[in-house]
Amino acid sequence: MTALELMDGLGEVDEEMLWPALNTKTHRSYRRALRAVLIAAAVLALLALAALAASESGLLERFFPGRYDLISDFVYHEAVTAENDTLRLTLHEAVTDGSCAALIFSVERLDGGSLVDFVPTAKIAALGEDGIPLRSGASETAYLPVEEETESHRWYLWFTYGRTGLHRVSLRLEGMMNWKTEERRFCEPLTAETALEPCPVKLGKRNGDPEAKELYPSIVLSPISLSIRSFVNVAGMTPENAILSERVHDGPSGCTVELVFKDGKNLDISENVLRRIVTLSTGEDLLTCVFKELLDISLVKSLRIDGVEYALAAGAAPVSRGTGMVPGGEWKENMRAWTFGDHTPVYPDLRDDAGAVGLALKAIWTDGYTTELLVQVEAERAEKVWEPVNAGGLITLSAEDKRGENLAVGVLFGGARDGLVSMVVECSGEAAQLTVGEQGSKLTIPLDMQKLAKLPQTEH
C-alpha cells in the first residue's frame, strides 16, 4: 500500500468517530488553518528593524553581529533585477551556509507612487544545487527600513533556516497588498533567482564511532548555524538510540549540546541561539540552531552532545536532499472583520513611559487568537529602538493566557512610520493579555472582548 492510499483510506473513517475529532475547535478551524498558512509565509517574524544610517551595500552586515568577515566573502552582492510596467524587484544581497539563508530584496514602484502601506506578497523558495525546492524548514520576512528608502521604494529581509543543501534562492513577487485595506495591487508576478556559494563549514567526523554514525549521520557547524541530523526510524532503531535521539529534540531540557574550543573552553549552545527548529521527516529529524552571533568555527574542536564528544573537521556543506515542495502561503488575512467589523477599538489612555522608551497603544484588532495592533513608540534615540533583533535592541511582544503562560507562536512586526509600528501576534490559545516591552518600558494590554467592544471605535 502507498501512503496516499492510506490517506485515501482514512477518508472513509466512520463519521461517528470523525465528528468528535473535527468538532473540537470547529468554529476556529478556518482561522487556525489560515494562520498556519500565514505563519508558513511569515513565521515567528521580525528579524530586523534597522533604521540605521547605512549604505545600500553591506545591509546583511547589520543582520549578522559578530565577526562578519567570517562570511563576507560568501555574500552575494550582484543585484538581480526584474521589472514590469509598474514594479521593479531587486535582489540585493544573500548569503547561505547550506542550512540557513538570508536575503535582502527591495520593491520599487516605477510610477513614483507610494508603497508605504503595502507589504509584498512573495513566495521565496530555498533551492538545492539542482534547482529543486527544498522541503520543510521555516522562513521569516520583515520590512527593513534603510536610509535609501523612499515612499515608492521599500526594502525587505527574508531569512530561512532548517534546510539541507541550500544552494539557490528564488524570489517570486506576486504583488503588493495594502496592509490597511487588504487590497491587492500590482499582481503581475516578478521573479529573481540566484545561485549562492555556501560559506565554509565543519562536519562531524564519524570516526568509526558506531554510536555517532548510527545516531547522527550528519553534524554541520558553520559560522551561522549548527545542524544535527538524527535517525528516528520507527522500525529499525534500537530503544537506546530512540531515547537518545528524542532527548536531542527536547532541547536544553532534554540534552545538552556544547561547543568544545581548541583552547579547552566550552560553550553551551543554548547561550548563542537565536532561532531553533526541529524539522521532522520520515526516518530522520533535523535540529537547526541559528546563532545569535557569528561563530569562528576554526576555533572549535568538537561538539559534545550529552557529554559524548564528536570531533569536527573542515568540509563542504551537504548537497541537496530536495523533494520538490514549493511553499505556499499568503501574507496576511482579514482580521478586523472577525470581531469588530470595520471598526477598530482604540485604547486612548494605555501607555507606559517608565523607561527610556515610551509605548502607547493606538489601535487594536483581535479575536483573542490573532491580534493586530498599532503601537506608538517614542524614544530620544530612535536608532536604539530599531537595532536588529539579534543585536538585542528589539521591542518584544508576547501573549499570555489567564495563568500567565506564553501563548505566542508567531510575531510579525510590520512597517514603522513616524514611530508607529504595526505588530501581529498569533497565539496557540485564547490570550488574556499582550505585553509589549522595550528595555525599561512594558505595556500590558488586556484582551477582554467585552471591554474592547465598549471602547471608542474608529472606522478604517
Binding site: T2, E15, R28, Y30, R32, L34, L280
Partner: protein
Amino acid sequence: MEDREIVELYWQRDERAIEESDKKYGGLCRGVALRVLENIEDSEECVSDTWLRSWNVIPPQRPNLLGAFLARITRNLALDRWRASHAAKRYGGETALALEELGDCVSGESLEDEVARRELARALNAFLRSLPERDRTLFLRRYWAFETLETLAKQEGMSVSALHRRLRRLRAALAECLKKEGIEP
C-alpha cells in the same frame, strides 16, 4: 439551524440549504481545504465544489452528522486537487509532511483492487476504534484534517517532540495492525 433542518432543505431542493451549510460548516470546510491546499483561492473553489457535491448527493443521502459529511467531501475534493497539482510541484506543506509520516506504516506497493481498499477502510475503522479517545482524536486531526504539529502540541499542552513521539507510536501501532490484518506484508 439544526443539521436535520438543513438536510431537510436539501431534500426540498431549497437553495437555502447551501447558504445554511456555509453559515454553519463553511469555516470547518475551509479549514480542511486550506490545510491541504495552502492556497486561499483554491480552497474557496474547493468549498464551492463541496456545496455542489452535497447538493447532488442529498438526496438520496440523508447524513446524520452533516458537519463530518461535508468535511469529508471537502477533504476528498481537496486531496484530489492536491494530487493533481502535486505532480506539478505546486503544493507542499502539511499534506506532504503528513503523507511522509504515514510512509512509516506502508510498504509503498499499490493496493491490488477495490476489495483491498474496502478491507483497508474496515481495518482503519477497527484500528481507530481500538485507540483511546485522545489518541484517536490526535491521529485524525493530524492525518485526516492535516493540522500542524505545532497547533496540536499547543492544544494538547505537550511539546512538539513529545507529540511527534506519540504520533510515531500510533503509526507504529497502525503498521502492526495492518500487518496483522494481512493488508501489508
